[in-house]
Symmetry: C2
Subunit: 246 residues, 2 copies
DNA sequence: CGGATACTTGAGGGTTGTCAAAATATGTGG
DNA sequence: CCACATATTTTGACAACCCTCAAGTATCCG
């Protein structure tokens, strides 16, 4: 993808997300769209930012999927969240200088880096934009809460169904999934396993269960939800925790 | 405890916490200490705020322990975080109007309610205070990340050890635990189970394992860490995620 | 076409859950 | 201070869930 186009698009997506949740004025919207940023591309598997780093810019996802993760001492990985275009997964680095986790490209990825200095300037000059960004980090925290519930108290099939429902909903918001319930889900089963805290083998078996129930199909990086009602019921999915409306 | 005293103390604890992480000026510190708030007391087991509520004030814990939790459809509970004096567990309600989870008194509790209007005023007038509060919510999110890692990828004994290490560290910061490693841990094993995503029976057995290893004792609501080195090694506990220093 | 990666399947073992009951601690009223 | 009711902790037996190891199959990519 063209770098200029990619930057323009990612800033538009961000502005759209912030407007949807915090009602930006035209003025505020154009400030977001005029952010300058250095665009970089990554290959699937690359670290974008690593635990311990002290970033000087925030990563705005332009295209592709990323994730936050942490490792245990003996090399087990836990994925903490998935990130889609329009997300700024390390926005917290503006106030928490040292990264307590890493950021990884799950697919080939293009990222626009918005300098901290610039974000500090606009948040100082525009308190409403500061609040919109703050709100965005609070929604992040809300998603963590939902994931904790899913990890601790949902069965494996419920948990997996929950992830599918969340991703579909979030993709819809940014226009990357439509009402036909077919969309790109371009990660490996191993990644899903690390997000659910399970082994890849068990994820594979859980997946077959959902398939044989006729709820979904997933192949070649494309996911189809065959029965949204049953899938979201199973997952006890209620999008309130995404705080999509102000 | 006297209500006035309790309010004064909770505001001091809050000011101290914010100063430690974000370096308040004397002026800013006194603004925090002059917040007006209605103090209320709760009994262990009371809901302070419930999922779906739209709060108009934020709950500042003055004395006792609280927790955030969510329930599944079939009545299973997941505790999402523990909250100690000086914490404002529902600070996010300032920007996310509807509660996506509930807040519960784990012990008898006194809470100072700071009106949203007042918080909006001081964050508008004092951007540095706004950032200090924002930072506090970002630390919250960081703790969620660490809990996700613990739930997904640590063994039950490691996970439990991790919780003990975290709580000890956080109690130290607010002066409720000292270098002798003995401190109040006034919750039930059932609560710990709901925080770890395990059954009470298994928590009990895990506890006996830690006891028989000579790492801790826990009885009558008092926890003693006998070997901090071994306990924190087992838990792979690294307090970086608490972001105690700016 | 060949090598690497990802997915699938099977077998067996460890961890954790459920159910039920006993033992202990806690709290309250007399 | 005791007696009782209640809540919490502890124990045992068994089943379900999930993990590991290992091998086989499919898919992707140069």
């Amino acid at each position: 993808m063209n770098t200029q186009l990619s930057l323009f698009q990612s800033l538009s997506t961000l502005a759209r997300k912030l407007d949807a949740s915090s009602h930006l004025t035209d003025d505020e919207e154009s400030i977001i769209k005029r952010l300058t940023a250095l665009t970089r591309t990554y290959s699937a598997g690359d670290d974008i930012v690593s635990e311990g780093d002290i970033p000087t810019a925030c990563a705005l996802i332009a295209e592709g999927w990323a994730c936050r993760y942490k490792m245990t001492g003996d090399g087990k990985r836990q994925i903490l969240s998935f990130h889609l275009p329009g997300d700024i997964p390390d926005l917290q680095s503006l106030l928490l200088s040292r990264m307590d986790h890493s950021l990884l490209a799950l697919t080939d990825l293009s990222v626009a880096f918005v300098p901290h200095a610039q974000l500090r300037d606009i948040t100082a000059a525009h308190p409403r934009l500061a609040r919109a960004l703050w709100r965005d980090t609070l929604v992040d925290a809300s998603i963590y809460r939902e994931w904790l519930l899913a990890m601790g108290r949902l069965s494996a099939p419920q948990h997996m169904a929950h992830i599918f429902c969340e991703i579909y909903t979030r993709l819809s918001v940014i226009g990357l999934a439509g009402p036909n319930l077919k969309f790109l889900f371009p990660i490996a089963q191993t990644d899903l396993a690390d997000a659910m805290g399970l082994s890849p083998v068990h994820v594979n078996r859980t997946l077959q269960e959902l398939r044989s129930l006729g709820l979904i199909s997933w192949a070649g990086g494309r996911l189809t939800i065959h029965d949204w009602g049953k899938l979201s019921d199973l997952a006890e999915f209620d999008p309130i925790y995404l705080h999509l409306a102000a």
